[in-house]
């Protein structure tokens, strides 16, 4: 850990700084990705997106088609904690979901 230069008249104030190999950027959002698989039905995936995220059917269908044709789609952008909730719920419905920092 590095410390700030000590001023003569006050107690030293130590400040934690990034060490360079651990970069912490708390403001970067997290994303939830749903991946294509050969089992989940298109209508079911659309329904789950509507149910879990409250998306209108058109948006849910577009995301489903992105998953189907492009192999994956970002279905939510949120804090890490909330993304973990999204991923757990998607897993509960049997969808293949992962998360990563954007």
């Amino acid at each position: 850990m590095m410390s700030t230069p000590t001023r003569a008249s006050t107690a030293p104030i130590e400040v934690e700084r990034p060490t360079g190999d651990v970069e912490v950027i708390p403001d970067r959002p997290w994303i939830v990705i749903v991946w294509n698989d050969p089992i989940n039905l298109m209508s079911y995936v659309t329904w789950v997106f509507q149910k879990l995220f409250g998306y209108p059917r058109a948006k849910a269908e577009q995301l489903m088609m992105d998953v189907h044709t492009k192999g994956k789609a970002v279905v939510a952008t949120d804090t890490r904690e909330r993304c973990e909730g999204h991923v757990a719920r998607l897993h509960a419905y049997g969808l293949w979901a992962t998360m990563q920092q954007d």
Binding site: N36, L41, Y44, Q100
Partner: protein, 175 residues
Amino acid sequence: MGHDAAGLMREDNPFRRDGDGFAVDLQPQVRTLLASIATQMREVLTGTAAADDPAVARLYPTAYPDDPMRNLEFEQAAGDGLQRDRLAALDVLAATTDARRLAEEQLLAWMRAINDARLVLGVRLDVTEDMRFEDLEDETARTSFSTYALLSTLLEAIVEALGDPGPVARVTDAD
């Protein structure tokens, strides 16, 4: 993604919204099959081989593929709850396979239990989006694929019967 299932059942949707629940009009042999699947799925999920079973692993995907430590934390936090939910859905299915009427919550449990069974069967069969019955030569695989196709038809019908989910508040982290 799987395409919409071919119609192996009668053409009418066996699930029909009826007041605040759903009328269920299924043939006895389909109900018997569902009861058998509920029993088998419980064994698959709770059996001693579950930890090494790729079909079971499919039900619990890796949340953080690039971060094993965080993924371990995620699994420890979410895994038991997911397992409980799955077994609870199976319990509902097992207890209501003969029901002529289901509450919406019960039909939602059917939906999840049926899709879990499809995932397990699908992994075991190594299904592809375009797999057809005729492509399979092995009798056991053919039987499994017939079951898989029937479950697909049932799931399709349930989704159609449920219709668009109502507007929901943004989900929270509360579980």
